[in-house]
């Protein structure tokens, strides 16, 4: 391991999703930020596809130069 490389530093962790990992890392003294994220539509692939279609429609038909 090279001194000064990122891997040598104390880990700073961003946890996405399950809070279980946050508790384990925090318990071990690691700096951790939790992002409360869940799969869209509770993981239902059919509804997620419908939502994506509605989002795609919004994106694809925006006026030229409209902020994305």
């Amino acid at each position: 391991m090279t001194p000064g490389s990122p891997i040598a530093a104390a880990p700073r962790v961003i946890n996405v999703g399950l809070p279980l990992f946050v508790e384990a890392l925090a318990g071990a003294g690691a700096a951790v930020v939790h992002v409360d994220w869940r799969p869209p539509a509770g993981g239902d692939p059919r509804l997620a596809a419908l939502l994506a279609r509605l989002d795609d429609a919004e994106e694809s038909a925006g006026a030229p130069g409209e902020p994305r």
Partner: protein, 439 residues
């Protein structure tokens, strides 16, 4: 127009809406379609056969009040015979709390949204306990109905006209700064309204002034129908914008709950009415409770009620929970809304605007359903209110809306216009404004 543009326009109309109380009139004179043997009710469409106990009780009371029946059994027979025309208040520029029954001889407040030319109506609030909107119909209820609609209403109309109307948007905004969320807590708003009208009620004079003041000052929810009508007038202005995924109505009839979405016009997306998590009056409990009921969730749809609960922590003494719950409920609602209200601010959040403009896509995506502060009616007709509490709209309504909107895009080859194009929610013959009526 993209979905984003459509939603920005829908939200802009809600934000720019005004709400002015201009008078009180009989429903038959101002509510479109409120005629003989027509019974308007809360929530999405429903038949007598599927109607819940308290809504049936309110129909019985309305039939007795109108003189259409001489007894409860007469009224039940009349309803079962098909002689009554049932239709949602929402289809007639009106909203009704709990059972939400409106019949032609009932007086309604007239609230005008001059910015967009919409108008909405709601009946006078009767108070707590044994009241018509909770399904009670005994002699005390009928006597109070007679006073409200035949004596109080003309006095209030005269006072409101003399005052030149009352700005309800300003009143609601002030009340949020005084601890109300103007759905289940209306203490400040009611006081502000009475302060605005008191000199004019006194000036109008007559034998009913003392009872009028007693009626208004002992009913801390007197303002609720005005909050509801103001919300309805604003959201009707945002209805029927092709492509918009913003909710324009949430309503419950005690059997079903339903939502309407701007881009799908008059269509209802419905599901079974959920239970309410509540605080009960002494002697009652969850087994006595009817599922969720009433058009009053129009306040949440407009960014008030449970959506503004962080402004009203004291409400948890009435609906249950903790002050932290009140704060967290509002914070959660930011996850499913398109914007923050420019007029309705929450002091405890450093005057952040309330979450407003529910997006059906965000509800389905996050799994967070709109929260609602509500009353609880006894499940049997003739009893009345037994508590108050919190509930959430059924996810199924929002899933159906996303399926409909997404399916429409597929059917149209990926275009942006949903299957239903335009809907004339406020394009029928305009009701006569209260202030233009003759003396």
């Amino acid at each position: 127009m993209t979905i984003g543009e459509a939603n920005r326009e829908a939200l802009r109309r809600v934000q720019a809406s005004t709400a002015r109380l201009t008078g009180v009139a009989l429903a038959r004179d101002v509510v479109p379609g409120a005629g003989d043997h027509v019974v308007l009710h809360a929530g999405p469409p429903i038949t007598w056969e599927r109607m819940c106990g308290p809504q049936r009780g309110a129909v019985i009371g309305a039939c007795l009040f109108e003189g259409w029946a001489k007894s409860a059994d007469d009224a039940i027979g009349l309803a079962a015979s098909g002689a009554l025309g049932f239709d949602p208040c929402h289809h007639h520029r009106a909203v009704g709390p709990m059972a939400g029954i409106v019949t032609p001889s009932m007086a309604v407040f007239v609230v005008e949204n001059a910015a967009f030319g919409t108008v909405a109506h709601a009946t006078i609030h009767m108070g707590l306990g044994r009241v018509l909107r909770m399904g009670a119909y005994d002699e005390s209820v009928l006597e109070k109905l007679d006073f409200m609609n035949r004596r109080l209403a003309p006095l209030l109309d005269a006072a409101i006209r003399r005052a030149g109307g009352v700005d309800l948007k300003s009143t609601s905004a002030q009340a949020l700064g005084m601890g109300d969320e103007v759905h289940n807590r209306n203490k400040a708003a009611t006081a502000l309204l009475i302060r605005a009208l008191a000199p004019h009620v006194a000036a109008a004079g007559g034998p009913d002034v003392e009872r009028a003041f007693d009626f208004m000052t002992t009913n801390e929810s007197f303002y609720l129908p005005l909050s509801m009508a103001a919300a309805k007038a604003a959201l009707d202005a945002a209805a029927s914008i092709a492509g918009s995924t913003m909710v324009t109505a949430m309503a419950r009839n005690g059997t079903d709950v339903g939502i309407r979405v701007s881009g799908t016009g008059d269509r209802w997306f419905t599901a079974p009415a959920p239970r309410v998590r509540g605080v009960y009056f002494p002697g009652f409990g969850p087994d006595d409770a009817n599922p969720d009921m009433g058009d009053s969730a129009i306040t949440e749809t407009a960014g008030l009620g449970a959506f503004a609960m962080a402004a009203a922590p004291a409400i948890v003494q009435f609906v249950g929970g903790s002050a932290d719950l009140a704060l967290q409920t509002t914070l959660d609602m930011y996850e499913i809304t398109l914007g923050e209200h420019e007029a309705y601010k929450i002091p405890a959040l450093d005057f952040r605007g309330t979450p407003v403009g529910i997006d059906v896509r965000k509800v389905v995506e996050t799994g967070i359903t709109p929260a609602i502060n509500t009353g609880i009616a006894h499940k049997e007709p003739g009893v009345g209110q037994i508590g108050a509490g919190l509930t959430n709209m059924a996810m199924e309504c929002f899933v159906q809306a996303v399926e409909y909107l997404g399916g429409g895009l597929r059917e149209l080859g990926g275009g942006l216009r949903p299957p239903s194009e335009t809907f004339p929610q406020q394009q029928d013959a305009p009701a006569k404004p209260a202030l233009e009526r003759g003396p």
